[in-house]
Amino acid sequence: MSGVMKRMGMIFRAKANKALDRAEDPRETLDYSYQKQLELLQKVRRGVADVATSRKRLELQLNQLQQQSSKLEDQGRKALALGREDLAREALSRRAALQQQVTDLETQHATLQGEEEKLTLAAQRLQAKVDAFRTKKETIKATYTAAQAQTRIGEAFTGISEEMGDVGLAIQRAEDKTAQLQARAGAIDELLASGALDDPTGMAKDDIQAELDRLSGGTDVELELQRMKAELAGGSSSGQQAIEGGTGQSQTPSQSQQPQDTPRFDKQ
């Protein structure tokens, strides 16, 4: 799978692992380095072994030469005892040649022995170093593993918090939605109040209807007033009395003291 789903998942995981250096595991590097040191130590040891083998070979050759030398010496002694001085001379001259070879070989042997000792010492030192490195490596690895475990715990928390981020986001959205709805409800109330929106419940009136109502209400009052005036103008005095009588019941004493010939409702 290489689509969006997978890629997003990978990014999440990569981010969760960001505390770790994914490019290189130090434990692997340490092990590799230790392996290289072991290989080097092996080479030195092989070198020591090679030198030792050469030394042994030289020793064998020296032994053989010395045996031949001894043999030639014996042969020379026997030849001299038999009165064969010429043979004795020959044996001794060969022996002298062998002795020269022995001396050369002994020099080589000494050199090889010196080299061998040096190499053995170097191998021992290297061995000690490699051993020390191994101990250090194991300590570092243990520390790293512990640190990694700690990091993993941290990662687990990071991962959880990332996962929880979505839940938090959902809550945030719910809250936003609620706030939005509340704001919308408030705005609708204001719009209804101003008359910009019709109220299907008929609880609120728009401004035009309010003005029309006011005007029609006013007209009614005016019409009523006109009607009453007309009644008064064309009506009998009883009507006037009825009015006066009607009002007389609730009149104040000062009002009742007003002269009767002064009509309260004058002619227009």
Binding site: S2, G3, F12, A170
Partner: protein, 92 residues
């Protein structure tokens, strides 16, 4: 397999459904890369619907790592592209 729809929650999906979801997912990726906004929206909705229908939602209190993650239903092509950029979800 656990799939998270961002901002919505997690669902558990049988692996056998992956093949059919893969088609939509690849289509979604192609549309994102081609900058086909309407197509992206259409495919994302189709993919989300499919995941919701095929999967069983996990309870909110369960915390399981998601194997696959899908953008939220209202995510735009640009937002998803940004999520998938080198910086990833969290810059740095």
């Amino acid at each position: 397999m656990i799939v998270r729809i961002m901002g919505e929650g997690q669902v558990r999906l049988a692996d056998s459904h992956l093949t059919e979801l893969n088609k939509l997912d690849d289509e979604l990726l192609a549309e994102m890369e081609n900058g086909d906004g309407p197509g992206f929206r259409r495919t994302l909705q189709a993919l989300l619907t499919e995941v919701r229908e095929l999967g069983d939602p996990l309870p909110d209190d369960s915390l399981e790592p998601s194997d696959l993650i899908l953008p939220s239903p209202d995510a735009t092509l640009e937002e998803v592209r940004e999520l998938l950029s080198d910086d990833g979800l969290i810059p740095g």
